[in-house]
Subunit: 210 residues, 2 copies
């Protein structure tokens, strides 16, 4: 399917729409106007209409949006109607926290394997998943149809491990290592640079409190 390129800014807002629509749905609300959505989400109604028009609209003049339908459609756009098989590289505190976070699984992101290079924890179970040595990674990725790798390893090894993963057929990398990866552009990388986020907070604190 050929799609027009949607800007990353719009895509970045979709999960937020999804979250708010999910909450409205849980409250039993069946329809919502772009103005009401605008009030609770604190973005302009025109931005909402523009964003959603990228995917064909969904709204009806005088009716607004059907909450359940829009929720489901945005879910599909986000690829949440498919299951993703994940492995995580790095079974430290952060890796364990991510594996233990149930919400990812509810959205179809299933952790299948955990890898580490520390022999002391091989076989240790994290939410029922045993920690495996890195040497088993290639075979595991190929045999278990893994599409996403999560990197929670130090930055000095992340670049090399990312290259290996790509050669094994990984399509997406969720990167928590504090480094920019160098992978072919058809590989999707989503970075979570926690230090950068904290520095941004620090900047905003300094510039508003001096």
């Amino acid at each position: 399917m050929e799609e027009k390129e949607i800007s990353q800014a719009v895509i970045g807002r979709l999960p937020r729409y999804f979250r708010y629509l999910g909450e409205l749905k849980d409250e039993g609300i069946e329809r919502v106007s772009s103005q009401e959505l605008s009030d609770i989400m604190q973005v302009t109604a025109s931005q909402i209409r523009q964003d959603l028009n990228n995917f064909g609209g969904f709204g009806q003049q005088g009716y607004g949006y059907n909450v359940g339908y829009l929720y489901e459609e945005i879910g599909k756009i986000l690829g949440l109607d498919k299951e993703h098989n994940l492995i995580i590289i790095g079974a430290g505190h952060l890796g364990q926290a991510l594996v233990n976070y149930m919400n990812f699984e509810r959205r179809g992101f299933i952790f299948r394997g955990v890898f580490d290079n520390n022999p002391d924890i091989y076989g240790k179970q994290i939410r029922g998943i045993p920690v495996r040595p890195m040497q088993e990674m290639e075979r595991f990725v190929r045999e278990n149809n893994i599409d996403i790798a999560v990197l929670t390893i130090p930055k000095n090894s992340a670049v090399e491990v990312a290259e290996q993963l790509v050669s094994y057929g990984i399509k997406g990398i969720w990167n928590f290592a504090h480094v920019d990866l160098h992978v072919p552009k058809e590989i999707q990388v989503e970075n979570v640079h926690l230090s950068d986020s904290l520095m941004k907070l620090s900047y905003n604190l300094s510039s508003h409190n001096t």
Copy 2:
């Protein structure tokens, strides 16, 4: 000090400049041109010049940038020359992972207290910091000059806890709860919505692999 408002997009790029300059510095490199910086950072040289011009430039025609000086100046702009006192609310896996992450402390972000509402873990030490009951939070914030609170609690309690923290004098919130907080606009909030990030990766995977 009155400063002109810098766009959040520019601010969002500063930590990345800081990271790359730190690496150059560690490699013993003393000066760098905007073109060289452009090559390693994969942004245009003109963007680099524009971004840095927001803060007064730093570069010299024909010389480029002094790595050590620029690194330090960006650090100051980011507020990294001051120490920040942090508490974390929520001593689950993610909270523990953040407290255990040494790099934050190296940048001047010091975890002073950990709070949770689970009596079973009161007094438990996380990297030497005992878990305290939420009831002690107000006094602790006021007595220890805490400026940043990190929220790693479920979304249903996060909105209320954030309001309490603001009333105790907290100036910045690093929010990992999957909800938008409602706080006065002088309070700085930096959100890390992990599920949103994963959904964005999922979208990019779907739209590039269909």
